[in-house]
Assembly symmetry: C2
Homo-oligomer: 332 residues x 2
DNA sequence: ATCGGCCATGCTAACGTCAACATCGGCGGG
DNA sequence: CCCGCCGATGTTGACGTTAGCATGGCCGAT
């Protein structure tokens, strides 16, 4: 492989100094139109590409963002990753990913990102406590997705889905169908999103003057949803709001195995609207999260922070999608 | 933000030259034990971290790998990403991701990776034609996952799951249960993995001397699986091998809607063993892919190529996981 | 005509690291 | 006792880029 084309090569070809080439590359206004054109032609002819590492060394900016998550293999995280990757790419930023070994590795992971020189990091917050106690390397900008607004400010921005509003809508939907009680299959206690969804469920019950039963609890997985129902299914259950679609899937299997039909005997609502939810049996009524918008806003906020503008808190709306897993309770 | 700690700072603190610090960092043998210790203490005290961009500028290596996929939001790709991310991290490489805008953007994406200076790229091959026709920037090493072995060699390595063997095992399992015919719900024609799975199905049928019916076809999504069954379900179907779990999910819904019970009337087998497959109704017999091993091997092959060793072709075994969606046909 | 100011462009140095070569001291063999 | 070698360490410069300042030409205002 021959030496790569550098600015000096372009400069020689165009008969200008390297500095002028630099100005053209960075679209500085201080360049004569004719000169610019000459330089651009030289770049095209030589196939010049700026060297990111060299630029990073000089400017201290890498034009690279980081994404930090416990795992990338979960449905929600992978959809967020996809959205963040596209949003970053459309702004000319590269995206590098890092998964947490342990739950307490947040500080270490951020340090590693700092070392790599990323300009900012999107943190997919799954265990609030771990994220909140993490130390942030100086100069690193952060946007935390689905975190309590408390820590926002400084170099930390927050973006979240309206979990609470969505959960409230789901619960209200069930109540409006005539269900006297709505049970909740909650997510893990350590999760902010799970807490918000539970809060929204309580909101709706309170609005209706209905007492909230003790929620069941899972870990987001279908298996945990199944287990929760098998172990302690409420006797008189007619309506269940699961904190995500996968737990709803597991719960529906457990209900079927116990001889309860969905939706005739028990109505079920999920959360997320994963790609498969429309093909669950029955197709699942659920709350759709707008991951694309969430990723877009996270990247926007992050880059705003990097470029010195203020970071802010954003709430992305969610929306109830009605399918066949909900209906009014049977009379009788 | 104060200036970062550089090698010179460490050198001053330890009373040695920068070069000696460099030697310690790169664990060169040419350093006295006492000196090394002094330098290491200085690094610890100052919190020194090598500057990747500077190193990349000097050495031409970025210690960064790229991952290219059409989308990162699909189940299989996100599991591969997770595995690749961990394998890369464990070797001290960062991982940056890029998704394809269009199906023909492979060349452009590789060019962008080249520009970013990644040392190598893992390509998740979804449309063989697009990958095969792509131009590879000089000096960039590639490992293509699930591609025909033809292109291997030079700076291109190939790693694949044993789709064919897994499909054969799935089909053989159904035949062994006593099913006279096994129908296939295939993946998209453009996919190598889909073609291999179909080939494995044909292999097993040929072994048993059974004629292969015309396969149904979907696009990997549950919705497409549902649609395929609704539109042209074979009359006498008693056994179905779907090319992935999600299409199996859609197919099972369609079968249920048509009044066919799984597994009593129709046995169904999927492929992938996604996390939810054990909670489908009924729990799905499927073929497990070892994504961790696949990612590990891809990264291993890539780094071997980067460091000048030979790249090779690897086949990762798959394994049938029996659950409740298969049983012998009813005598009738 | 003179001068200040502005515009286009060039020159120099520096970002942090490492490869290549230089230096220095000690030690064993002749 | 001198030479040559080796092992440990230092010096220099370059990777490709851009910030900051310098230069020189032109124009309008005085």
């Amino acid at each position: 492989m021959q030496r790569r084309v550098s600015m000096a090569d372009v400069a020689a070809r165009a008969g200008v100094s390297g500095q002028t080439v630099s100005r053209v590359v960075n679209s500085s206004p201080r360049v004569d139109a004719a000169t610019r054109q000459r330089v651009e032609r030289a770049m095209a002819e030589l196939g010049y590409r700026p060297h990111r590492a060299a630029r990073a060394l000089r400017t201290g900016r890498t034009q690279t963002l980081g994404l930090l998550a416990t795992t990338l293999a979960s449905v929600g995280n992978s959809r967020m990753l996809q959205a963040v990757a596209e949003a970053a790419a459309s702004r000319g930023y590269a995206l590098t990913v890092l998964t947490l070994g342990g739950p307490d590795g947040v500080s270490a992971a951020l340090a590693q990102f700092g070392e790599q020189g990323v300009d900012g990091v999107v943190v997919l917050n799954e265990a609030t406590a771990a994220t909140e106690s993490a130390t942030i390397p100086t100069g690193l900008h952060l946007v935390v997705v689905d975190a309590p607004p408390g820590r926002a400010g400084g170099s930390v921005g927050i973006v979240q889905s309206d979990h609470r509003g969505g959960a409230r809508a789901a619960t209200t939907h069930l109540l409006a169908l005539g269900h006297a009680a709505v049970h909740h299959l909650a997510g893990p206690a350590s999760s902010f999103a799970a807490a918000e969804r539970e809060a929204g469920w309580r909101d709706a019950l309170a609005d209706a003057g209905v007492a909230a039963p003790v929620p069941l609890r899972g870990d987001w997985s279908a298996a945990s949803g199944h287990r929760a129902i098998v172990e302690r299914m409420p006797d008189a259950i007619t309506a269940l709001f699961a904190a995500n679609d996968q737990m709803a899937l597991g719960a529906m299997r457990a209900l079927a195995e116990a001889g309860r039909r969905v939706p005739e005997d028990v109505s079920v609502v999920g959360f997320d609207d994963v790609a498969d939810a429309a093909d669950y049996r029955p197709p699942l009524t659920t709350v759709r999260q707008d991951f694309d918008e969430l990723g877009e806003r996270a990247v926007h906020a992050l880059i705003a922070g990097i470029e010195g503008e203020s970071t802010s808190v954003g709430l992305v709306p969610t929306r109830l999608v009605e399918r066949a897993s909900t209906m009014p309770p049977r009379r009788g």
